[in-house]
Symmetry: C2
């Protein structure tokens, strides 16, 4: 008996077939094309998943990784990456398609579960996971279990709020996500004459700014460091509330490694009220890469089977 895992993201849809001991047996992926009609998108998810299910087999359970809040309901209520999707019963649709019980959870929550079980946070309590890419999400494993709060909305680090000098209150996502890095670089390019390789780039987004920073571009580096300092301030607040043993940073922005994490580490060191909050090994880069949500979805589905 095996588990079907589906990672339904705003950009990519992935599917995998796992043994009951969670060995990866088959894997496929396809672009989500979220702008297409909902029926076509859902049909493509089913089609992608069918390609990993061996002929004649039925999954023991289906684990689904989905964006947006309260995914545990099995509904995609709303998600910034899926404009126009409202209360779509994705779990039921997949369960019907594959004739198996389907369990859905939020992508960042499943990322936390996967990194806790097989990745950079193994055995840590509390273990906090942040995924920093287009947006910022998060999950927490407390006492070995996913922590979801009263209504399944807990751990939204992207919505930590900070005042700017002009009095505006903005979210961490507006200050430290890949999107924020792209925006900050475009603002700097427009408002200054600083030289930068980005001036000749076709597009300035989080990805190109990150690449320029890795090549030593001063403006890009400065933008990345500023994002890292905001990320650090968000982490200071997480640290003072959870006293985590480990914080894992995943998502595309984490691939910048120490370029963004060193400024974050510095802000943490400067702002913790007690050094006991700040273990040298507190902040770690995620280990599981693009399959993190597939692994989390499989873990989640399996946990429902016992």
């Amino acid at each position: 008996m095996a588990i079907l895992a589906i990672d339904f993201g705003g950009t990519r849809t992935r599917a995998a077939w796992f043994s009951s001991s969670l060995d990866l047996l088959a894997r496929d992926e396809t672009p989500t094309r979220a702008h297409e009609p909902q029926e076509s998108v859902i049909a493509r998810v089913i089609e992608t998943a069918r390609r990993v299910v061996p002929p004649g087999e039925t999954p023991l359970a289906i684990g689904i990784c989905a964006p947006g809040p309260q995914a545990y309901t099995g509904l995609i209520l709303h998600a910034p990456t899926l404009p126009g999707w409202h209360s779509v019963p994705l779990a039921r649709l997949m369960g019907d398609a594959f004739n198996a019980p389907a369990y859905m959870e939020n992508d960042a929550n499943l990322g936390a579960l996967a990194e806790y079980r097989y990745g950079a946070a193994q055995g840590a309590n509390p273990a906090i996971y942040l995924t920093v890419s287009t947006s910022i999400g998060g999950g927490a494993i407390l006492y070995g279990e996913l922590f979801t709060g009263w209504r399944g909305l807990a751990i939204e680090p992207g919505h930590l709020k900070f005042p700017l000098p002009d009095g505006q209150i903005v979210s961490l996502e507006r200050l430290a996500s890949g999107t924020a890095i792209g925006r900050a670089a475009r603002d700097r390019l427009a408002s200054s004459n600083e030289p930068s390789a980005l001036r000749s780039a076709r597009e300035t987004d989080g990805k190109t700014v990150g690449q320029a920073a890795m090549q030593g571009d001063a403006l890009a580096l400065s933008v990345v460091r500023e994002a890292g300092r905001w990320l650090g301030l968000g982490l200071v607040n997480i640290v003072h509330l959870f006293n985590p043993q480990v914080i894992v940073i995943g998502g595309s922005v984490a691939q910048l490694g120490d370029l963004i994490l060193d400024p974050a580490r510095q802000v943490i060191a400067e702002n913790v009220t007690d050094p006991a909050f700040n273990d040298p090994d507190l902040l770690r880069v995620a280990q599981l890469g693009d399959d993190v949500c597939l692994i989390g979805a499989a873990l989640h589905a399996r946990s429902k089977m016992v």
Copy 2:
């Protein structure tokens, strides 16, 4: 068999004798006089506790409520309200004096436990407790149990950090505690000609500012509201991380009631990313008054007995 509870605070020391079903049988209190030599202070704690223990009886267990981090170690490591106290083994000293096992915990953690079991957060999950007075402390009850994090340091809402317009990063305690309210009022009095009843007060501290605000003094009201808005911003961050069912606000500043809580509620309503985070009944005033830590200490000691 009964439980001895000791609330050892920077200002007052309280002791109580509870039945095993946690009925309050006897109670006493005395000023702590923390500036006196440590031996005298400790002797006075023991003396106060002795007055509540019936002649010839020995407690089944002793619960001790103490300020400062990692109180669960039984040591007062350091506490802002107890200058000069370093690694004092208070739990062992009390255990020896009364010949019973002694269990110590942080005051705000025990406040959380007490309000969860008998007060304003009964049955809530997660239940968050903030005590706002001279300083700001907190505790959380998750799944009915005290949440303390990796090293017993979790839930330090007073150390949530926010940037000021001048770039300085300061703690919530510097912005929203009773101490902060007193300081902000003194600053306003010194830097402006605004009329205020506080100009004729002998002293301007959190207490006198609160009293003036309750009597409608415009300057005092404005200072209290500003503290309330900062408190609200701190709560926004707690809400986005814990998705609590209930947040209880205790401590002397909570006695200002809606004067401080309404601005906090407004900032929460304006800044939550989803109204599902913000139940109309989310924010509540503590119910247990001055005995909250004695009750929490007794609950804590009893929980160790099973």
